[in-house]
C-alpha cells in the first residue's frame, strides 16, 4: 500500500502528520501523537490505521502495536460517539464519583466499558484526569465536566444525544 493512493487519513490529518515529523530530531517521536490524532478521526486504532501509521513513520506494525498497547487512551475497538470517562480516583471518589458512575450506568443501561445500542455513548471508569479540586469530574471525549452531581446526568446526556442526532448518527465513533 502506498499512502498516496490508499489512505485512511483525511488531507488535514495527513498534513498534520507531515508538519509533525519535521519537528523532532527523530521521526518516530511523532508516533504517539499521530496514533491519538488518527484515533480522534477514525474512532479507534483499526488494523488499517496501525498499518498506515507504521508505513508513514517507517517502522513495523508490530513496533506500533508494542507502543500503542502501553497507553490507556489508545484503543483497539470502537466506542460510542461520546465516550464518557468517569474518574473514580481518590479525590473524585471522596466527592461522590461512585454515585455518579452508578447513575451513568443506570441512565445508559451499560456497565464499565459498555457501548449503548445506538452507539451514541460509551462509558468508562478512568483513573485521575487532573481535576481533583473540582470533583467529581468526568470527560466526555476531551471535554471536562467538573463538580458533576448525579442529578445533572440526564440533562448532560440529553445535550449530547441531541448533538449526535443533529449530526446524523453515532457513526464514526
Amino acid at each position: 500500500m502506498s499512502s498516496e493512493t490508499m489512505t485512511l487519513f483525511s488531507p488535514a490529518l495527513a498534513a498534520r502528520f507531515d508538519a509533525l515529523v519535521d519537528k523532532y530530531p527523530l521521526r518516530r517521536s511523532a508516533l504517539i501523537p499521530m496514533l491519538l490524532y488518527a484515533q480522534d478521526e477514525v474512532g479507534y486504532l483499526s488494523d488499517a490505521v496501525i498499518a498506515e501509521v507504521a508505513h508513514r513513520i517507517g517502522i513495523t506494525e508490530l513496533d506500533v502495536r508494542n507502543v500503542a498497547t502501553y497507553y490507556s487512551m489508545l484503543r483497539f475497538k470502537p466506542v460510542g460517539k461520546y465516550n464518557i470517562q468517569v474518574c473514580t480516583n481518590i479525590s473524585c471518589m471522596l466527592a461522590g464519583a461512585y454515585d455518579l458512575f452508578e447513575r451513568f450506568q443506570e441512565e445508559l443501561g451499560v456497565g464499565n466499558k459498555g457501548v449503548t445500542a445506538d452507539r451514541i455513548f460509551s462509558l468508562e471508569e478512568v483513573e485521575c484526569i487532573g481535576a481533583c479540586c473540582w470533583g467529581p469530574a468526568i470527560q466526555v471525549n476531551y471535554d471536562f465536566h467538573d463538580e458533576l452531581k448525579p442529578d445533572l446526568v440526564p440533562g448532560l446526556l440529553d445535550g449530547y444525544r441531541g448533538k449526535a442526532l443533529a449530526e446524523g448518527s453515532g457513526k464514526n465513533a
Binding site: 519537528k23 523532532y24 530530531p25 527523530l26 518516530r28 517521536s29 511523532a30 508516533l31 504517539i32 501523537p33 496514533l35 491519538l36 513513520i57 508494542n66 507502543v67 502501553y70 497507553y71 490507556s72 487512551m73 489508545l74 473514580t88 480516583n89 481518590i90 479525590s91 471518589m93 471522596l94 466527592a95 461512585y98 454515585d99 452508578e102 483513573e127 485521575c128 484526569i129 487532573g130 481535576a131 481533583c132 479540586c133 473540582w134 470533583g135 470527560q139 476531551y142 471535554d143 471536562f144 467538573d146 463538580e147
Partner: protein
C-alpha cells in the same frame, strides 16, 4: 472552566496572572511577561544558574530537587544537542495545579522554558502534556505559535542571534510517563518504560543529549524568580524551601481548590482556615499531604509546616502538593484499595516487585474490603509493600508501597474491623460493594 478560589493568606506569585486573560500574548506582555527572559538573555547562563540556586526553588513535581543545582549538572560542552523538557504529564491523583497553569498562564511555561534553555545552552525545549489535557494542549500550541510570530521563539529570539525552538507534545494516557526517564522514552515514540540511572538525564537524556527536565510548575515559577530576584523569592518560603507552592486541596473540605501559599504554611490551618474545614461539620480522619503516593497523616499529625523538609521529617512527603482531606465517614480500607488499584493499573510491568506487588496488594485488599480477610493478611499486606520499596527502576513501586504501609500501620483497627466476614462498616448506599470472584 475549573473554578478559581482565593484566600487572604495566599501569596500569589505563580498564580498572579490566573483569571487575567494572560493566555493572550498581548495581555501577558502587558502584565510584565517576557521581561525575565530578556533579562536572562542579557545576563548569561552563569548568572541565571546562580539566581536559580540562590532562590532555593525546588522541583514541584514531587522529589523537591533544587532546580538551580539540577541545571548546573548539565555539561557546558556537549557533542550532542542539549534539551529542555517540561513535564506536564500531571497524573498524580490529588494534583491539578499544572492544569491551571496551562489554562491561565501558558506563556509563563514558554518563558520559563526559554530561560532554562539559555541557562544550559539548549536550542530546543519540549513541553509534554498528558493526552487528557487536549484543550490545554491547544492553548499551549496557540501560545507557542503567538510567541513565534513575535520572534520570542525562533532563530533570533528577541532580535538576538540566539535560537530557541519550542515543541509541544501530547501524551496518550500513562501515569508512569510522569517519571523523567519514562517521559523521555515516551517523547522518543516508545513505551514509557523507565531507564536505569545513572547516567542521569543531565548527562545522557533525550535523544542521548544532556537534558534538563522540570515540572511545569517549576518552569512557570522561573520567570517570577528572575523578576522578583532570587533573594526576595527565597524569603517568601522557609530555609532551603524557597517561594510558594500551588497546593491543591481536594476531598472532604468546604472550599476545595488550588491555593498558592508560602512554603512552610501550616497544614492544619490550610485545611481549617484556607479550605474552610471538613465538609458538613464532620470530623477529620486522615490527610494525604502531597498526592496519592505520599504516606497518610492522622489528625494529630497535621500541625506541621508544609515544606519538603518538615513533611519529610514527619514521615511523609510534600510530593506534588495535592492535599487530600478525608472525613470520618470514609472507610480507610476502601481508600487504600482505591489507591493501590490505581498503581496496579499504572504499573508498566517492567520490574517484577512492582508488577506483582501492586497486583497482589490489590487482590488482598479487594478480598479484605469484601470481608474475607484474615488477621495474617494485615501483616502480609505490610510485608509485601515493604519488600517493594527500593527494588524497582522507577519510583512507581515506592509510590504504591509507601502509602499502603502507612494505611496499614495507622489504621490497623479499621482493617481488623473488616475481618471474619463482617461487611464494610462504612458501606454507603450507592457504593458498589466489592465481591470476591
Amino acid at each position: 472552566m475549573p473554578r478559581l478560589v482565593s484566600h487572604p493568606d495566599e501569596v500569589k506569585i505563580v498564580s498572579r496572572r490566573f483569571g487575567q486573560g494572560a493566555a493572550e500574548i498581548d495581555r501577558y506582555i502587558e502584565l510584565g511577561g517576557y521581561q525575565a527572559a530578556k533579562k536572562c538573555l542579557d545576563n548569561g547562563p552563569d548568572w541565571i544558574i546562580n539566581e536559580m540556586k540562590a532562590s532555593n526553588l525546588r522541583g514541584r513535581g514531587g522529589a523537591g530537587f533544587p532546580a538551580g543545582m539540577k541545571w548546573s549538572f548539565v555539561p557546558k560542552q556537549s557533542a550532542k544537542p542539549k534539551y529542555v523538557l517540561v513535564n506536564g504529564d500531571e497524573s498524580e491523583p490529588g494534583t491539578c495545579k499544572d492544569h491551571l497553569i496551562f489554562l491561565h498562564d501558558p506563556h509563563a511555561v514558554i518563558e520559563g522554558t526559554i530561560i532554562a534553555g539559555l541557562a544550559i545552552g539548549a536550542k530546543t525545549g519540549f513541553i509534554y502534556l498528558r493526552g487528557e489535557y487536549r484543550y490545554l494542549i491547544e492553548i499551549m500550541e496557540k501560545a507557542v505559535a503567538d510567541a513565534y510570530a513575535r520572534n520570542i521563539l525562533g532563530k533570533n529570539i528577541f532580535g538576538s542571534d540566539t535560537e530557541f525552538q519550542v515543541v509541544t507534545q501530547t501524551g496518550a494516557g500513562a501515569y508512569e510517563v510522569g517519571e523523567e526517564s519514562a517521559l523521555m522514552e515516551s517523547l522518543e515514540g516508545k513505551r514509557g518504560i523507565p531507564r536505569i540511572k545513572p547516567p542521569f538525564p543531565a548527562v545522557v537524556g533525550l535523544y542521548g543529549g544532556p537534558t534538563v527536565i522540570n515540572n511545569a510548575e517549576t518552569i512557570a515559577t522561573v520567570p517570577h524568580v528572575i523578576t522578583m530576584g532570587a533573594e526576595a523569592y527565597a524569603a517568601v518560603g522557609t530555609p532551603r524551601n524557597g517561594g510558594t507552592r500551588l497546593f491543591g486541596i481536594s476531598g472532604h473540605v468546604e472550599r476545595p481548590g488550588v491555593y498558592e501559599l508560602p512554603m512552610g504554611y501550616n497544614l492544619k490551618k490550610m485545611i481549617y482556615e484556607v479550605a474552610g474545614g471538613v465538609r458538613g461539620g464532620r470530623k477529620l480522619k486522615a490527610v494525604v499531604p502531597g498526592g496519592s503516593s505520599t504516606p497518610v497523616f492522622l489528625p494529630e499529625e497535621i500541625d506541621i509546616g508544609m515544606d519538603f523538609d518538615q513533611v519529610g521529617k514527619a514521615g511523609s512527603m510534600l510530593g506534588s502538593g495535592g492535599v487530600v482531606v478525608i472525613d470520618d465517614q470514609t472507610c480507610m480500607v476502601e481508600f487504600a484499595l482505591r489507591t493501590i488499584s490505581f498503581y496496579q493499573h499504572e504499573s508498566c510491568g517492567w520490574c517484577i516487585p512492582c508488577r506483582e506487588g501492586t497486583d497482589w496488594l490489590k487482590k488482598s485488599l479487594t478480598r479484605f474490603h469484601a470481608g474475607f480477610g484474615s488477621m495474617s493478611d494485615i501483616d502480609n499486606i505490610q510485608y509485601l509493600a515493604e519488600n517493594m520499596m527500593g527494588r524497582t527502576f522507577c519510583p512507581l513501586g515506592d509510590a504504591a508501597a509507601m502509602p499502603t504501609i502507612a494505611f496499614v500501620k495507622k489504621f490497623r483497627k479499621e482493617f481488623e474491623d473488616h475481618l471474619n466476614g463482617k461487611p464494610c462498616p462504612f458501606a454507603r448506599e450507592g457504593v458498589p460493594q466489592l465481591t470476591v470472584v
